[in-house]
């Protein structure tokens, strides 16, 4: 437990020290929302039908692009091997990375929600939406962290990660967008989307924690 906490604190500290990566991801997310507003004319008329899709594609892309570099450095500097050699289960190493990524991404996402609230005059920081964002982000961060960690030691980097991660994340995207839409009252909650979101988050966390120790075997 102590070791797990140490790994999480280490990853958060590194995320903070190496802010450039996460700041870029944050800036990317903000700019993406702006670009969408121009492209879909969100400033004119009711933006609510399009807003859930705009927000979640932004979150997904920001998350997928940001999860690569931190792990990349860990592999290049050899510290990943040092962690694997320490007497802690690999699952702890994975959870440390995933939780640090989750927290960093949530900070970005809440900032985006706050800015979008101001830009579009729609209350986005409600309990429901915050809950959906937390569960949804946990759902995709667990997979993107796993894929980027394993991919870092192969040549599967950069452009490949979105190609790998996004098809797997389609159920999550559908569930998150529809659940957010329902929270914004633009559509009835026609299916148990929130439930699916929760199931996906549990599923991906479980699968990633099971597969990670097997996958880092050499």
């Amino acid at each position: 437990m102590n070791a797990g906490l140490a790994v999480i604190m280490k990853d958060l500290r590194l995320a903070w020290r190496d802010r450039a990566g996460w700041t870029t991801a944050g800036a990317f997310a903000m700019i993406a929302v702006l670009v969408y507003s121009f492209a879909f004319d969100l400033a004119v008329g009711d933006p609510r039908p399009l807003l859930p899709g705009v927000l979640w594609t932004t979150f997904l892309f920001a998350g997928v692009f940001a999860s690569g570099p931190t792990v990349q450095r860990e592999t290049d500097e050899g510290t990943f091997d040092a962690l694997l050699l320490a007497p802690v289960p690999p699952t702890v190493i994975y959870l440390g990375k995933a939780i640090a990524n989750l927290i960093a991404l949530l900070v970005i996402e809440f900032a985006v929600l706050a800015v979008a609230t101001i830009l579009f005059g729609i209350a986005l920081l409600t309990t429901t939406i915050v809950g959906i964002v937390i569960v949804g982000t946990a759902g995709f961060v667990s997979l993107t962290t796993l894929l980027s960690t394993l991919g870092a030691s192969t040549r599967a980097r950069g452009m490949l990660l979105p190609v790998l991660a996004l098809p797997l994340l389609i159920p999550l995207l559908l569930a998150a967008v529809r659940a957010t839409g329902a929270a914004l009252d633009v559509e009835p909650e026609a299916a148990p989307w929130s439930l699916l979101l929760g199931v996906f988050a549990l599923w991906s966390a479980l699968i990633a924690t099971i597969l990670f120790p097997l996958a880092v075997e050499r």
Partner: protein, 231 residues
């Protein structure tokens, strides 16, 4: 070390250890019996399998066939207890460049469950002469300094066995003296160190293992069975 010598007379024993990578046996049929307190120099050309053998012994890599015990623990299953008795000194310092020397050491102190971590970190940073620079980020320090921090990290949890892969890399003459003093020639520590500097090896090694294309071609470090029991 206060452990009875008889129970752990052999620190590292490998039996036909083989690792196949990319279609070739990078390490092939390596059988060694290294007694406690011995200091083995691992020699051989680049690509002879030194690094892979060390990676196998450190549990970073699993063998394709064969097995080994380190301090009586089998490599298979990679028990945490085994990892706790091993210290690693790589040719890459394996440090977080955005953290300070002290932060790096404290992190690994917690991962290895070092109880007196703060006093131990201070002790080691003083030992390697970096106590005054403990809060500077690793990225601003020189290559030689990195290797000194790595040395401190390797010894942090008081390992019984030190596995070192070309530990001289980047060290200045002063650093080399330090390396011999606190690690390679430190009494009580069992050392296996890869090196391509034969001139340096004489200073500390008690035996040699020479690898060629993954095989052992010369071994003056292992002890035969009978002798080990009596020892």
């Amino acid at each position: 070390m206060t452990r009875p010598a008889a129970t752990h007379a052999i620190a590292i024993e490998t039996r036909a250890l083989t690792k196949r990578y990319g279609g070739i046996d990078v390490v092939r049929d390596v059988s060694l019996r290294l007694p406690v307190g011995s200091r083995t120099a691992l020699l051989g050309a680049n690509g002879a399998g030194k690094t892979t053998l060390l990676a196998l012994l450190s549990t970073l890599v699993s063998p394709t066939s064969g097995d080994a015990t380190v301090e009586g623990y089998p490599l298979a299953g990679k028990p945490a207890a085994l990892r706790r008795v091993i210290g690693i000194l790589g040719h890459q310092p394996m440090l977080y460049e955005d953290m300070s020397a002290a932060e790096n050491l404290r992190l690994f102190g917690r991962l290895y469950g070092v109880l007196d971590a703060s006093t131990r970190v201070e002790e080691l940073l003083r030992l390697v002469g970096l106590w005054t620079r403990r809060d500077e980020r690793v990225s601003v320090l020189s290559r030689g300094t990195h290797q000194r921090i790595a040395l401190a990290r390797a010894l942090l949890h008081r390992p019984h066995i030190l596995l070192a892969d070309e530990p001289e890399t980047g060290l200045d003459p002063e650093g080399l003296v330090l390396l011999d003093e606190v690690a390679l020639a430190s009494p009580g520590l069992t050392v296996v160190a890869a090196s391509h500097r034969v001139d340096r090896v004489e200073a500390w090694a008690t035996g040699l293992v020479r690898l060629q294309r993954g095989r052992v071609v010369e071994d003056t470090a292992s002890v035969p069975h009978a002798e080990a029991v009596g020892a």
